[in-house]
Each structure stands twice: as structure tokens, then as C-alpha cells.
Symmetry: C2
């Protein structure tokens, strides 16, 4: 597909937050071939020429931590304490899932990502093969990360997947990872460290999501989850942590020295009452930040607009200072920070030669008016209703409310409703 967008505002994010007015953006195959002011109408045999009508093109959001397959659990078990939620509601039902169930639940999540302008996800869940299939069939860009723990996903399986998914369809890739310190034995993590050194590969995991997790780790190992992982060499080739609500000063030092990414999940941390990460402190320390929705059982929606508002809003509340964590910095986390954390070097901004992972934001709506500051409008008043189009790898997968992922959304809804009914 060759697509020409014209009459567009363009927020390239290649540098600052400047917006080009009345620009053109051309896509050849899966790559951005032109951004600028020239008219390219007759230069190629375009499959589609789209009048953007002054709306905004920008790079897609990157959901840097999620568990897509958990969609079946949405609103099945809310308003419960965390331990009862996990042990009574989540774990027993997850044990009954088939790989086909997870594939279809992942497809439901993909529909929602598209409606929220999310063009890539950093996904950790069961039966990685079915996640890979769901993403390739749907045209979703996905970086999977190992969710290894004492009960599932062995080291051998992880190595096999690392090799397989990183040499298969370029739309999907794989990073080494483990679920969390509290679900993994030391021996298992030592094995993962060896794998990381064998492939010079970064390692990701849930880290310091709750106070009790940190306390438990200190009791078990005399160290915080970050210190413990670092002591095992797990961060020698980089990587990062999901959540990171409770990092100590020494943890922050390790994150800085190892160049690790923090993936913030404010919606999930809010709904599960886990706490507010000290984002201002992380920013002051120069740490690298990205944003994720976490899974739909704990959030419950896969909505980058909500997450962006919460990243800055909760920081303002925590610091009692309305000036901290500027909206433009949050927007950068949701796009560039995520792409960098996920190793998607060609998906971080709009630029010639970069992958065509592009969204169109509808500015012709009351919540985007007036246009005093478009990037702040996106963070502070944007909503899914403003996502007019989502293009991944040069293919338009969502446009004006219509999905194009190779399967009728209602088939997917029916499957997941039936599944939820079966597992209720």
C-alpha cells in the first residue's frame, strides 16, 4: 500500500513538540517516504490519497506494559482487595484458558489498542505462540516479553521463543523477562541471567509494584527486587521494570547506571490501590520512562489517554505542585519512551525511513478546541473519541470506528463473552 496524507498538521516528535501546518506525509509500503510541504500528488501511483482536513498526524502510542489476554476478566472482579482479587478471581480462571482462548482475548485487546491509537504493545502473558499468531493475523506490532516463573515458561522455552520470534515476522519480536522476583526462584533467575549474557539481551520484569512485594524480597534476599536482580547480573545488558512504584534511592542509582527503563502503569496502580510512583524524582534523576496500561483485569481499559492524564495528574497530587511533570514530557514517554523501551528503533517518531506507525487525531471535536496547545490538549483533554485512524506498518487497521484486522469484531466479542460466561 502506498498512501499519501495531505492537508495535515504533523507532530513528528523528531525533536520537540513543534507542529507542521498544512503538511504532507507519504507512506510507501511500511515506511514513511516523505514529510514536508511539497505536493506529491503525481509522484507515485497512490493506492489512497487522504485529505487529513487539518487534523493531526502523529506517531502511534506505545503501550509498554500489558497483558492483552486478560480481556475476558474485564469487570468480572472489581472492587476487591488485591489478594482476594488475585487468588480468588484471577488465578483460578487463568488456569482454565486454552491457547485459542488467549488468542481471541488478545484480539479483543488489539481492537481496543487500535481505538486508543496504540500501535505497539509490550505484552506478557501465557501461551506466547497464540499471542504471536493473534498479532500477526491482526497486523498489530508486538514485542513479547518472557513471563517466566516457577510455574510456567521454562528457561528452555524462553530461549526457544527468543530465537523463534526474533527471526520470524518482523511485526513481532521477543525480549527476555520474568514475571517478578516473588514468583521466581533464585536458580531460575540465575539461569535467565546466563541467557541474557549469552545473547547480550536486556531483561524486563514486574518490579516494586507494591510495598509488600519490596518488603517480601528484602526478607527473602536482604535486598530490594532491583538490587537482587542486579546482583544476579540480570541488568548487565539493560532492560527495565514494570510499575516501579516503590524504588529506593539505591534502586534509582541502579536504574540510572544500567540505563534501565521504568514503565509506569498509573491506571492499574490506582485501581488496585498500589500507590503513586515518584515520577518527578525519577525524572530528576534522568531515568528513562515509558507508559503502559497493564492488563484489562486491573485497569480496566486499554486507554493511553487515561494513562497520560494520570502520569501527570497523580504526580501533581503527590508533589502538591501543579507545575510538575509537564504534559509534553508525558506525551514523549507515551510515544518515544515506549518505543525505546521496547527496542523499536524505527517507531519512535515520524521521519523519512521510519516505520509507518501513525495515528490521526481528530481536532474537529469540542474537547480539542480551542487549539491553544495541541500537545497539551492531547494529554489533558484527549480521549479515544479523538482517534480517527490508526496505521501500523503502513496498513490502516482502524478508521472512523471501523476495524480492519482480518476478522469481524463481533465474532471476537461473541467468543470472549462465551468464554467469560463459561469461566464465571
Amino acid at each position: 500500500m502506498n498512501t499519501r496524507f495531505y492537508n495535515a498538521r504533523i507532530l513528528t516528535m523528531d525533536g520537540g513538540m513543534d507542529i507542521m501546518e498544512e503538511g504532507e506525509l507519504c507512506v510507501c509500503g511500511n515506511t514513511i517516504s516523505y514529510i514536508g510541504k511539497e505536493e506529491n500528488k503525481d509522484k507515485t501511483d497512490w493506492d489512497r490519497q487522504i485529505d487529513v482536513k487539518g487534523n493531526l498526524l502523529m506517531p502511534g502510542f506505545k503501550d509498554a506494559h500489558t497483558h492483552s489476554g486478560m480481556t475476558f476478566l474485564r469487570s468480572m472482579a472489581d472492587d476487591l482487595p488485591l489478594d482476594r482479587w488475585l487468588n480468588e478471581q484471577i488465578f483460578p480462571r487463568e488456569a482454565k484458558l486454552s491457547s485459542q482462548d488467549i488468542k481471541m482475548c488478545t484480539k479483543l485487546a488489539i481492537l481496543e489498542y487500535l481505538s486508543s491509537g496504540i500501535t505497539a504493545v509490550f505484552d506478557m502473558y501465557l501461551t506466547p505462540e497464540s499471542i504471536d499468531e493473534a498479532c500477526i493475523e491482526s497486523g498489530m506490532r508486538c514485542v513479547q516479553v518472557g513471563g517466566m516463573n516457577n510455574f510456567s515458561q521454562s528457561l528452555d522455552e524462553q530461549e526457544e521463543r527468543y530465537l523463534k520470534f526474533n527471526s520470524g515476522n518482523p511485526l513481532t519480536s521477543y525480549m527476555l523477562g520474568y514475571h517478578a522476583e516473588y514468583t521466581c526462584s533464585k536458580e531460575l533467575l540465575e539461569g535467565l541471567s546466563k541467557l541474557s549474557h549469552k545473547y547480550n539481551a536486556p531483561v524486563y520484569a514486574h518490579n516494586s509494584e507494591t510495598e509488600s512485594e519490596v518488603k517480601g524480597c528484602i526478607e527473602r534476599h536482604g535486598m530490594t527486587p532491583t538490587q537482587f536482580a542486579d546482583s544476579l547480573g540480570l541488568f548487565d545488558h539493560g532492560g527495565g521494570g514494570y510499575h516501579c512504584v516503590y524504588l529506593s534511592d539505591d534502586d534509582i542509582r541502579i536504574f540510572k547506571e544500567r540505563g534501565l527503563y521504568i514503565v509506569l502503569n498509573p491506571g492499574s496502580n490506582t485501581k488496585l490501590a498500589s500507590g503513586i510512583a515518584d515520577i518527578r524524582k525519577y525524572m530528576d534523576a534522568g531515568l528513562k520512562l515509558a507508559i503502559g496500561t497493564d492488563g484489562p483485569a486491573s485497569n480496566n481499559c486499554l486507554d493511553m489517554f487515561r494513562e497520560m492524564f494520570l502520569v501527570t495528574g497523580l504526580s501533581k497530587l503527590k508533589e502538591k505542585d501543579a507545575s510538575v511533570v509537564d504534559a509534553d514530557e508525558v506525551l514523549a514517554m507515551a510515544v518515544k519512551g515506549g518505543a525505546q523501551a521496547m527496542g523499536l528503533k524505527d517507531c519512535d517518531c515520524l521521519k523519512e525511513g521510519k516505520k509507518a506507525d501513525i495515528i490521526m487525531i481528530d481536532l474537529d471535536t469540542p474537547n480539542m478546541q480551542p487549539l491553544n496547545n495541541i500537545s497539551k490538549n492531547i494529554v489533558y483533554s484527549g480521549s479515544k473519541m479523538n482517534v480517527k485512524m490508526t496505521m501500523i506498518d503502513g496498513n490502516i487497521r482502524y478508521e472512523d470506528g471501523i476495524y480492519d484486522i482480518g476478522q469481524d469484531p463481533r465474532e471476537i466479542y461473541k467468543y470472549v463473552n462465551d468464554l467469560a460466561e463459561r469461566l464465571r
Copy 2:
């Protein structure tokens, strides 16, 4: 207009959160004439018969505290400390507004309310006549409240408006009020108390939004804002407070004894770093609660979905308990609580004889699937994209992204953009 909705899920909120499946709802003029299972196809000469296709009809949200006219300020002055935001950015620009400016800014807000399923607003701002005009012209239900302070809106003007707006178009009404203790002299408030007693009328005002407001009031009067207002007899006929982030135990006692409403504004309190109201405590004390967006300069969006998530989410964070402030209770605040606070006795639920203030929630979207629990889906994963239709007083004002408020939205956008440019 007589409208028949069929094949609908219906959340009447007349009682609990039970949902009728495959129901019909009929509207004659501005009133709900039927809800049930019978087929009314041939019973009246319908102007429209709408196949709801299994989507959800429910009563519209009530935005119980806002300043609609501030839309021109959206994203003009974010990420600033509260005092600089008010004194450098807001007040100097407000001083330059004409009544026509406020009318058009209010219309911009009305468009956004409609897109968020808000069917009535409790509005406090300058030039109330132009707000009244904007709402009547647009078909928006509006309860205005006096924003009297030492600088604008005298007692005489307030009495005149109270009489005029409460005997004019039934779509709009008026409540007595004052901006806040810190902007009003004792004499002015004593005068308002007399007015309240003359008409047996409740009184509303900003109350205990910030710690410094409460501290200042104690310094000035030896009492909290609630105690001070009560000591002047301002609550003898009921009323309530906007924000109420910092209420003392004695304030809570006064709210309970006087039957006052608390209008929560979590989005604004978050963005301005004001704090988190102790909602669980208020609920335990049996206080009456409603929800507002506050104005678009401080929020910055007029989105009841964001507010509902924040009411429960921030409470969970504050209490460190994921089970507090159940989503269903939040949904009741956003609908019934608001209607009651605003004196809209006939707009609190869907029932024969009640006003036809109805919204249609699109369930055929990924963020509403699966349908494990529809009311929780609305609070935890709903978004403006789910508002398929907004009907006020029997008239459809918003449907599938199209607005019908008697003026082209683009004319409104242009006016407010030009205004913002002029005041920059």
C-alpha cells in the same frame, strides 16, 4: 417529537443497577411515556423509531459543578502553580470577556457535554444572562448558581436572576450561591442568608477546595468555611459545597445535619494538585454526593467518564484499599446524586413521567466487552467514544458524532479560537 426506542438494554436506575434486556422506551414530547417489554410500534404516530440494537439506554450524567464559559482557556496555561495560574493567566483574561464571548464559550462546552453524555449542568460563571441564552438556544438543561463575590454579581442582581430564571424557560433554572468565603465579605454573605430565608432557598458555593482556603478562613473568622457559612444561616434551607476536599469532622456533622450535598471534582483537584477528598469517610457518614468536572481551564476536559474513574480510583489510592467506593455507587453519584443536588427531581432516573434526559451507550465496542458487568464497564472502562446519543428534554442533541444545537459547531470553534488568539 415522539420517539420510540426498541431492542434496548435499559438501565433505569430507578432503584438498583439491574438492566432490562430487549426493552422498549417511549418518549412523548419531553417526557418518558413507557418503559417495558410491550411492543408500542403502532400505538402512536412516532416521529422516529430507533433500533437500539442491544445497546444501553440510561439516564444522562449530571455535571454538578462547572464553569462552562472557561473553554477559551483550555490548554492555555497548564503546568503552573495554582496561584500563578489564577493571578497571571485566568483573572486578567476573564476581565476582558464580553457577554457574547461567554455565550459562545458556553456553547463550546455544551458540545462537549453532549459528547460525554451529560444532560444537565450546574453552572457558575460571569454574565448569567448569556449562559441562559446559550443553554436555551442549544437545548441544554442548566441550573445556574450565583457566583456572587466582592467584585461581581450583587445581591440585588442575584435576587433578580433567581426570580427571572426560575419563572422562564423550564430548561433552565437558578440557585442561590456565592463564589467562596475567601472572595466574599461577611456582610455580603449575611445578605445572601437573608435572601435564602426569604425564598426558603438552598445555597451553594466552593468550599474547602484547598488547605490554604480552610486555613485562611480559620484565620479570618475562627471557623472553617462550612462552620462560618452555617453560623450565618446560609445552610438553613440546605444547599451544598463544590470540591469539599478538606472537611473537618464538625464540617461533616454540619453537612449531615443540614442535608447538604458534596459535589466532588476529582479531575480538577488532581490537575491543580489540591488533594484527594475523603470520599469513603463522607460515604460512611451518609453524606449526599454528586460529581462535577469543574471548568475546562482546570481539568481540562468535560468528561464524566474520567471523573467517575477518578472518584473511585483516587479513593482506593487514598485508603490503600482496592475495595472502597464501589463503581456502582459512583455511577449513582454521577446520575441521581447530581440530579438531586441540582433540584432536578424529574431527571434522576428513567421512569414513566420523568423527563426524557436519556443517553445511549454503545456496547458494541472493544472497551465494553465482554459484558460481564455493564455498569462497572461504564465506570472503569467507558469513554466518550461510547456515547452514541444524548437526548435532552425529548430532543436528540447528539447522535453518532453529529451535534444538533441550532448552530454549526465549526462556527463555534472558530469564534472561540479567534477569542483565544485575541486574549493570548
